[in-house]
């Protein structure tokens, strides 16, 4: 994750909250639409007729959506509560609280609204108004009843008059009769209901309506008929019907029907009363449905509001609890070590401030951890680097604890001390040194200084290894913690034997060169002068003096010759002619040398073994010949006059670090080297033999090193000396050795 900030993921996938949100917005939107429509309807009832279906479906859909949301939310809350999801209990409490806060006022408002609606509608129906309307209706009826009686009486008078006259006369008098009684129409129907004569104040051509069944039925029963008929134009008409009696038996022979229009003024008033009464009755009838409708509307509004409030409670509680849940998750993540947790900042309120503080805390922790990690990495890198340095350092380094327990030791330490420090960390240095004489000698020095209380010291110590005396430069310093407490020591040492040897070699070369130069020059004049003296004065002297002169000059010449030999030997040691590398058969070369000495030293047995034929050996044959001469001569001188003298020469190929070498060993039984001077056998003028200049092995070493080889001297078990020489097999391997040597020198310098 690195330095990137990671946002805490919520429990649910991102699509579900989006869907819930959309559904919720849709539901709440529908609620608003439904309430708006209901409000419109409340303001104007005509709108209800137009919007009724829409309101019904919107409300049903709204209730469905809200119910769906509530069920979803409730089930989720229940699951969370059962699963002990952090924040679920708080959420449940908050939802309960919000719902309680919403329900109680809603129910109170609902109750009082219902009371208001019921009582308010009831107050519309005043008993006095109803009684007044009843009275008005009765009065109108009575007023019209008088007119109806009058008109019926007039119609009956006409029927009475026609009874006395011929009915056919009626056809001629009908018009005057209609006008006489003030009817708008007067019609005579026959016995079968067929129209006989009619007269109307309407325009001619409009046929009068037929007689109605109920009029005809009543007249046939010889009963007069009168009715008040409302017309489609809002006016009223009084219709009367009376039987027409005639004939011999005075039977009903027809029907006289008259129609009277109620005057417009009265008709309008009567119509108004009729309409008012009807409307009032209609409202009375509609009272119960109206109450039910309002109650239903109010209930729907209550339900929508209630469901919306509960859903709102869920949304609000979720918004409030969500940051707390995030904080809990974030805290748990931090507890698990995830300091990269960053929480979304919900709002700018106190919870937002808290979340912001949490984010700052995690940022700080993350930064601190990153810095610590970087520091640790740096330390690790430094440590690794140091380990690499120590591992490749030619200097031995041993770090010790304050109680001289080994903490670390590099490879060079093991190589110099010929000890194995692998897996010995924590062991006492004394324990490790118990079976190692070299390390024991070093430990003795360290312990001695430690016992004295000296923690910082520098010394050059001589230890005695199997291969001889070694000189070590040794330095010790204490390790102190930041608090100044001493936590251990570091002992640094280096094998400077080779270095000292080189210095000695260089010094001896210089001495030899100067000696050769300074001494050789006067030798020839001395010799010549001595010979001249002898030649000039020997003959002139007495025999006694001549004998003295002859002996003296002879001694001078001999000593000069000896001195010249010595100077030549020094000269050979000092001079470094160019190498003449060529391929030759070393076996033949050594055989030649050995054969030479076999003849001269018959008492000494010289054995030359070559186990594997050496081919393609490149070297300077002159130098190799001189080397072999010196070695054999050195052995012969060591054996001296010892009986059973034996010189064993072995040549065999050898591969060291994948570099082809040949090994030449010359072993004798001449008594070996003194153990004290084992490390100095290759120094000039170091010799344990009665004869010899002490330059033989020094020259051999020089010749070997000129071939980039190595030489070692040791004593054998048979109290003899053993010289081991490793020479590169050819020019190529020699170059490899030179390159490696150069690399090692460079690395050593760089590491140091």
């Amino acid at each position: 994750m690195g330095f990137e900030k990671r946002m805490v993921r919520m429990a649910t996938p991102k699509i579900r909250p989006l869907l819930y949100g959309m559904l919720g917005a849709f539901g709440v939107g529908l609620s608003f639409v439904a309430l708006l429509m209901l409000s419109q309807v409340a303001q104007n009832s005509e709108n209800f007729d137009r919007l009724a279906d829409s309101i019904l479906w919107v409300n049903v859909l709204c209730l469905f959506v809200l119910l769906l949301l509530l069920i979803g939310n409730l089930s989720k809350l229940y699951r969370d509560y059962r699963s002990h999801v952090p924040g679920s209990k708080l959420k449940a409490r908050m939802v309960g609280m919000f719902v309680g806060l919403a329900i109680i006022p809603l129910l109170i408002v609902f109750y009082f609204s219902m009371q208001f609606i019921n009582r308010g509608i009831d107050t519309w129906f005043n008993v006095e108004v109803e009684a007044g309307l009843d009275d008005a209706l009765t009065l109108s009826r009575n007023a019209l009843a008088m007119q109806m009686r009058d008109h019926l009486a007039a119609t009956e008078q006409i029927a009475e008059r026609l009874k006395l006259t011929n009915s056919s006369q009626f056809i001629y008098e009908i018009g005057s009769l209609r006008q006489e009684i003030g009817a708008s129409e007067l019609t005579l129907f026959g016995r079968n209901g067929r129209m006989i004569a009619t007269n109307s104040d309407q325009t001619a051509g409009i046929a009068p309506k037929g007689v109605s069944d109920e009029l005809l039925m009543q007249v046939r029963q010889n009963r007069p008929y009168v009715s008040l008929d409302p017309l489609s134009d809002g006016s009223y008409e009084i219709r009367t019907g009376v039987p027409l009696i005639g004939g011999r038996n005075l039977d009903v022979i027809g029907t006289i029907r008259s129609r009277f229009i109620v005057s417009q003024r009265i008709g309008r008033m009567v119509n108004s009363i009729d309409s008012s009464y009807t409307d009032y009755k209609k409202i009375v009838y509609l009272r119960a449905p109206l109450k039910r409708t309002f109650s239903l509307t109010l209930t729907v509004v209550l339900m929508i509001s209630l469901l919306a409030s509960i859903y709102g409670a869920f949304v609000l509680s979720r918004r409030l609890v969500s940051p707390i849940q995030n904080l809990v998750k974030g805290t748990r993540a931090v507890a698990k070590g995830d300091f990269d947790t960053q929480l979304p900042i919900p709002t700018g309120d106190e919870i937002g401030f808290l979340v912001n503080s949490f984010n700052e805390m995690t940022r700080g922790l993350s930064l601190a951890r990153q810095q610590a990690s970087m520091s640790q990495n740096l330390v690790e890198a430094e440590r690794a680097n140091l380990e690499i340095i120590l591992a490749n350092l030619s200097t031995g380094v041993i770090s010790l604890e304050s109680n001289l327990k080994i903490r670390t030791a590099n490879k060079a330490a093991g190589a110099i001390l010929n000890a194995d420090f692998d897996g010995r960390a924590g062991d006492l240095l004394s324990d490790v040194a118990a079976d190692n004489t070299v390390l024991q000698e070093l430990y003795d020095v360290v312990k001695k200084q430690f016992d004295k209380g000296i923690t910082i010291w520098h010394d050059q110590i001589v230890v005695h290894a199997i291969k001889g005396r070694r000189v070590l430069t040794c330095a010790c310093t204490d390790l102190s913690s930041e608090a100044g407490e001493e936590v251990g020591f570091v002992v640094v040492f280096d094998d400077i034997t080779q270095q000292l040897q080189s210095q000695r070699d260089a010094a001896w070369s210089e001495v030899a060169r100067r000696l050769a130069h300074e001494i050789k020059n006067p030798l020839t004049p001395i010799q010549l002068s001595a010979e001249r003296l002898r030649k000039k004065y020997l003959d002139t002297m007495s025999s006694k003096d001549g004998e003295i002169l002859d002996r003296s000059t002879h001694i001078i010449v001999e000593q000069v010759a000896a001195m010249r030999d010595m100077v030549n030997a020094f000269s050979d040691y000092a001079r470094a002619p160019d190498m003449e590398i060529s391929s030759f058969d070393i076996e033949d070369l050594i055989n030649d040398v050995v054969d030479l000495y076999k003849e001269q030293e018959a008492k000494i047995k010289i054995i030359f073994n070559i186990k594997t034929p050496i081919e393609n050996f490149d070297a300077d044959p002159g130098r190799i010949r001189q080397m072999m001469h010196n070695l054999i001569r050195n052995s012969i001188e060591a054996i001296d006059s010892k009986a059973d003298g034996l010189i064993n020469i072995i040549i065999k190929p050898k591969e060291i670090n994948k570099i082809a070498m040949i090994e030449i060993t010359v072993e004798d039984n001449g008594g070996g080297f003194k153990s004290q001077s084992l490390g100095q056998v290759f120094d000039p003028y170091v010799t344990s033999k009665p004869k010899g200049t002490g330059l033989g092995l020094a020259i051999v070493k020089k010749l070997v090193e000129e071939h980039m080889g190595s030489i070692e001297a040791s004593n054998t078990k048979n109290n003899g000396a053993l010289i081991s020489i490793l020479l590169p097999r050819n020019e190529k391997t020699r170059e490899t050795i030179i390159i490696n040597s150069k690399k090692n020198q460079d690395n050593g310098r760089a590491l140091v």
């Binding site: 209706l137 409302p230 009755k281 449905p289």
Partner: protein, 195 residues
């Protein structure tokens, strides 16, 4: 303990008796649900028009009657469908006709008015019986012109009489929707057109 058991038994008995009494009273209650029925219907070709003659039996429910007497006008609707018979396909509804008649009570004149909504004409009757009788006697109601029908096709007519509530306000309609007594309609009466 014994007293408690007796009390429980008596409670169960009381509940049983109450249920029985309610059931009996429900059975004894007179049927005032009302019903509409088409007794007969036929079409006559007069000149170029097909006229409908039908006899209906109309009984109003208590609620409808109560509404009528309270000044709420009732609308009786005659719904007629002319269906063309087809041999291989479903029958086609050629025409749908609606005839509405309004029945109203006027308290001042104490008369029932029957109004032809389409024509605007009206008649008044002293009794509800007369008014319903008048409504139940359909005569010479012009349905369709003969030229509008395919002479080769076979037609049948369907007639249904129903109490329409479309003209009422929405609150009333919603309430009427849940009340059976306002759901007055006859079965469809079908007859074949005789050419």
């Amino acid at each position: 303990m014994r007293f408690a058991i007796q009390k429980k038994i008596s409670t169960v008995m009381m509940l049983f008796l109450l249920c029985f009494a309610l059931n009996v009273s429900a059975q004894m209650r007179p049927n005032h649900e009302g019903y509409f029925d088409v007794r007969s219907a036929t079409t006559l070709l007069v000149e170029q028009d097909y006229l409908l003659d039908a006899r209906l039996q109309l009984f109003l429910s208590d609620e409808a009657l109560n509404a009528l007497n309270s000044g709420v006008p009732l609308t009786i609707e005659l719904s007629i469908e002319i269906i063309r018979s087809r041999r291989f396909l479903p029958d086609a509804k050629e025409e749908e006709l609606e005839f509405q008649f309004e029945l109203e009570y006027r308290p001042l004149s104490q008369r029932y008015i029957v109004r032809d909504v389409q024509k605007g004409t009206q008649d008044s009757y002293a009794t509800l019986f007369s008014a319903l009788n008048k409504l139940g006697k359909v005569q010479n109601l012009i349905l369709i012109q003969n030229s509008s029908l395919d002479p080769r096709a076979s037609y049948r007519f369907r007639l249904q009489a129903l109490l329409s509530t479309k003209q009422y306000s929405a609150p009333l309609r919603i309430l009427f929707f849940w009340r059976d007594q306002w759901d007055l309609k006859s079965e469809w009466y079908e007859w074949q057109l005789q050419k």
